[in-house]
Amino acid sequence: MIRTEELLLNVGPQHPSTHGVFRIIVKLDGEVITEATPVIGYLHRGTEKLAENLTYTQVIPYTDRMDYVSAMTNNYVLCHAVETLMDLEIPERAEFLRLIVMELQRIASHLVWWGTYLLDIGAMSPFLYAFREREMIVNMFNELCGARLTYFYMRVGGVKWDAPEGWIDKVRDFIPYMREKLDEYEQLVSGNEIFLARVKGVGTYDAQSAIDFGLSGANLRSTGVKFDLRKDQPYSIYDRFDFDVPVQTAGDCYARYLVRFEEIKQSLRILEQAVEQFPEDGQIMAKVPRVIRPPEGEVYTRIESPRGEIGCHIVSKKKPQPYRLKFRRPSFVNLQILPKLLVGETMTNLVTILGGIDIVLGEVDG
């Protein structure tokens, strides 16, 4: 028999579909992958090392740059960890502002994922539609804190800036607009035969291996495990709102797609309620000493970022700087399952599966 030549292909570090500097060495037999080895670390900036010489407030901008698609949730997890350690009471208005920006950020992040995922699959228009909607959110953030990507919005004890006049109304108007657009997206993409054929049954894993690999977020919920930290281990004021945790059971790329798509809708529901209950006035910062020295001890807080469980582990020695700061980066953990999923798949599916996991390389490399 004719043996086809085995091909060793370096996908990345510079490749259109790795969404950053990520390299994966694949052995190909024809177009079928026989072995895949991810190589990461090209974007490693040593955030955790840098943090050991910075005060807690100074660390916050570094978190912006980890998962740069969802900077608000990163801001929050660090502040939340310090606040837990200090046992701080956060003013109501600040909590609402935090929650609103986090949910807006979740929508923005999922929109980026949705657009780029379809770009990976070869449809280019959805990308521009998604970015149009994301632009509205980014503009709202811009009004709020003067930044469009790396916000540095939250502080230990609250938020830095109060909502400008009319800002809440903008969020209120955004909700029905986004709902309408989601219907359009559904018509354009979710029922497209080519799209379904590309994602259904691709990159399937079961709940068992999802748990074993420590997957979180949509990657976990697509296998039927109903676990969302906003519901199961509530933080901030999520327990006051009524929303569902979308779950799919198939565990393939399509299930992950549906989960994320539904999450946008659920975030809109949360936003709708939050905007209604938004306190008229009040403080946006708790009473926090100028130099933050959390008590000696250890804390691990985790919240539901758009990509899954982002955690922050602080070891404090009652100094202004953390003794050790460790982030559990969901992209880093979620990416581990990739080699297992890729074996036996084609080159085309590599892109589909990698996109389906939804990684941000800034976060993978820390």
Partner: protein
């Protein structure tokens, strides 16, 4: 008509000048097809499209081509130099040559070959060799994969493409494109698209695939293979590949018009006062628009789905179409 009848010096010069004019027309078409494509896709995607170079951005493509021509021409060190240089030529020349037999109107045609249809398919298959060689000669794994994909795709879709037009050939009883158009005179109900609707659908799908355009743009799938077979090409060699691609858009749109949409004939007899060439151009442009439209709408199909669609759906359908067409034609003959 014999292809070589009266091959004298004057007829040769006539052919040559005709070819030069055609080349100019085709280049003009390609320039504005690219502009038109970018505009259409821009509108679909809520963007403006090119609007900076010249009025309404009309000179955008000209500027792009100039840029490509002025660019440094690079040849990878480990590439197969000879084939690397040859490949864009092999890809482009057939693309241009196939245009010779397209009848624009009953008078405007360069060569009325009695096997015009066969001529088209035969020569267009040579372009694949160019793409394949370009992919191989670059000595790049992505381009090799792109080349392999394009070879597999072209071979698989050439078969249903040819099979889908057999119905048309049966109806008109000729392989000559001119005769095929003549057979569709007298209003849109005479056009081949109606009796050969299945054939038309198969033809369009296979044609888009032959063009390597979305949703069948696997050989150059930028999100998987970076740019596929032309990863390593730059400057005017790259321009040649692009040119070949758009000339095929031109050729396929013209061929579809000729085979299925009645060529230069008007859809309703009382509209005959409008010049034939206008009808041809209108139909031709609507096909071109259709190609751009689906590019902005559809995701890319997967390789294995592509293969099974070609072999398991399109080919059997085309065969059934031929079978049914034959029976119907014979029945009509019998009852007449």
């Amino acid at each position: 008509m014999n292809l070589l009848q009266d091959l004298t010096f004057s007829s040769f010069m006539w052919f040559l000048s005709g070819a030069v004019v055609l080349l100019a027309v085709v280049l003009g078409f390609v320039t504005y097809a690219i502009y038109f494509e970018r505009k259409v896709i821009g509108w679909i995607q809520l963007r403006k499209g090119p609007n900076r170079v010249g009025p309404l951005g009309l000179f955008q493509t000209v500027a792009d081509v100039l840029k490509l021509l002025l660019k440094e021409d690079t040849i990878p060190r480990n590439a197969d130099r000879f084939l690397f240089i040859l490949a864009p030529v092999i890809a482009f020349v057939p693309a241009f040559v196939v245009l010779a037999t397209i009848p624009y109107t009953s008078l405007l045609q360069f060569a009325d070959l009695n096997v015009g249809l066969l001529y088209y398919f035969a020569l267009s298959s040579i372009s694949t060799i160019g793409i394949l060689l370009g992919g191989w000669a670059s000595n790049n794994k992505y381009s090799l994969l792109g080349g392999m994909r394009s070879a597999a795709q072209m071979i698989s879709y050439e078969v249903p493409l040819v099979m889908s037009v057999v119905g048309v050939v049966l109806l008109s009883g000729s392989l000559s494109l001119n005769t095929i158009v003549e057979g569709q005179a007298g209003g849109f109900w005479q056009w081949n698209i109606l009796p050969q609707f299945v054939g038309f659908i198969i033809f369009i799908i296979a044609a888009v695939s032959e063009l390597n355009r979305t949703p069948f743009d696997l050989p150059e799938a930028e999100s998987e293979l970076v740019a596929g077979y032309h990863v390593e090409y730059s400057g005017f060699r790259f321009a040649f590949f692009m040119l070949a691609e758009y000339v095929y858009v031109y050729a396929i749109a013209a061929l579809t018009t000729v085979l299925f949409l009645g060529g230069w004939h008007s859809p309703l007899p009382f509209l005959d006062f409008i010049p034939a060439i206008v009808w041809f151009i209108l139909k031709f442009l609507s096909i071109v628009f259709f190609l751009f439209w689906i590019r902005a709408t559809l995701p890319r199909i997967r390789v294995d789905h592509l293969m099974s669609l070609g072999w398991k759906v399109l080919l059997p359908l085309a065969l059934v179409n031929i079978f049914v067409t034959t029976i119907v034609i014979e029945l009509i003959k019998y009852f007449k």
